[in-house]
Symmetry: C2
Subunit: 202 residues, 2 copies
């Protein structure tokens, strides 16, 4: 019996992640993915008309995973600042447990040009919007002083993206080193006191 469409799609994406990780995006041929996924050529081209579409499929899969984990955290925690703290941990944790994948998404994407840039900006905007809503909530709850939450979210997004990028592309940083400084600086930047930060992050 033919598997249902979603899981065939997933199997192709998982196979592609493996092939991209071992051969690199540019040296991977569609045939390699056909072979690794034990799918037919027709099935692959039905789901993804090109290698680039597969790449974008992986990007979406990872972004969706990260968003799902973040939303879970943001629903459960009570204080706005605590949610922000937990969200950062989840973010680094998700990149940390998918480092090969993150490397493919952030590094190998370089050669994909304008299409990927547009996609990347869309995803950054999506997460910036998530950050913005949390910052706005913390202002409403009286935890931090009023500020330009949209700008603040973009500044956070830039800082987080750049640090994660540096982390997955070099071996200079570790989550153990990144997390305390990143958290302290980001929370301070929106006006959380050092006492409160210590209380939340310990």
């Amino acid at each position: 019996m033919e598997e249902k469409s979603p899981s065939t799609r997933e199997r192709i994406l998982d196979a592609a992640i493996e092939v991209f990780a071992s051969k690199g995006y540019h040296d991977t041929r569609m045939d390699d993915i056909v072979e690794m996924s034990h799918s037919s050529k027709g099935s692959i081209y039905f789901h993804f008309p090109s290698k680039e579409e597969i790449f974008f499929g992986i990007v979406d899969k990872f972004a969706n995973l990260l968003e799902k984990r973040l939303l879970q955290v943001l629903e459960t925690e009570s204080s706005g600042i605590e949610r922000v703290h937990r969200a950062l941990v989840v973010c680094l944790d998700t990149f940390g447990s998918h480092q090969a994948l993150a490397k493919i998404l952030l590094i190998q994407a370089v050669g994909l040009g304008q299409d990927f840039e547009v996609k990347r900006e869309q995803i950054k905007d999506r997460f910036a919007a998530l950050i913005q809503s949390q910052i706005e909530q913390a202002v409403i709850e009286g935890e931090i002083p009023a500020l330009d939450a949209e700008m603040a979210a973009q500044i956070w997004m830039g800082a987080i993206y750049d640090i994660v990028m540096r982390w997955v592309s070099t071996s200079q940083l570790s989550p153990e080193r990144m997390l305390p400084t990143l958290q302290t600086m980001l929370l301070r930047s929106i006006g959380v006191s050092d006492e409160k930060i210590e209380q939340i992050c310990r």
Copy 2:
């Protein structure tokens, strides 16, 4: 009389900036730059073996200009935190007064792939090192509490780069909107109090 080599080089770069700005990097041919710069083909190829080399020449020219302006500010101001404030103003000011150029460097560079990524990281590292030394100085001078200055500088660099990128690539932001929030957040992030920030930035 033939002009001296440095100014021929400069003339070529200035002409290239104009051509890139009007035609876009990808649609510019070396002949367009020959024509615009009133140089000979031989002279251009003597200075720059390829269009990519011209692009990198422009990148260096802009990075050098920004660095020169920053170093001037960093030499003159007394307090570490004041220097940081002035440096941010200079940074946004330099991008603001060369917005067409900044757009070429940040946006059109996308298609250049790995070579440009390496170059971009080198330049970001250079400016991050400059930021790091200022933050370390502010710690030594007792203005801010001790922190991981290397991480802090990378976080700042990521935040600044991303905001400037967004500013030059969209029309959503203005320096008037960016500067107050960016400054407040960055200074807070390294432990400067809101009273002190108000005092410096007003």
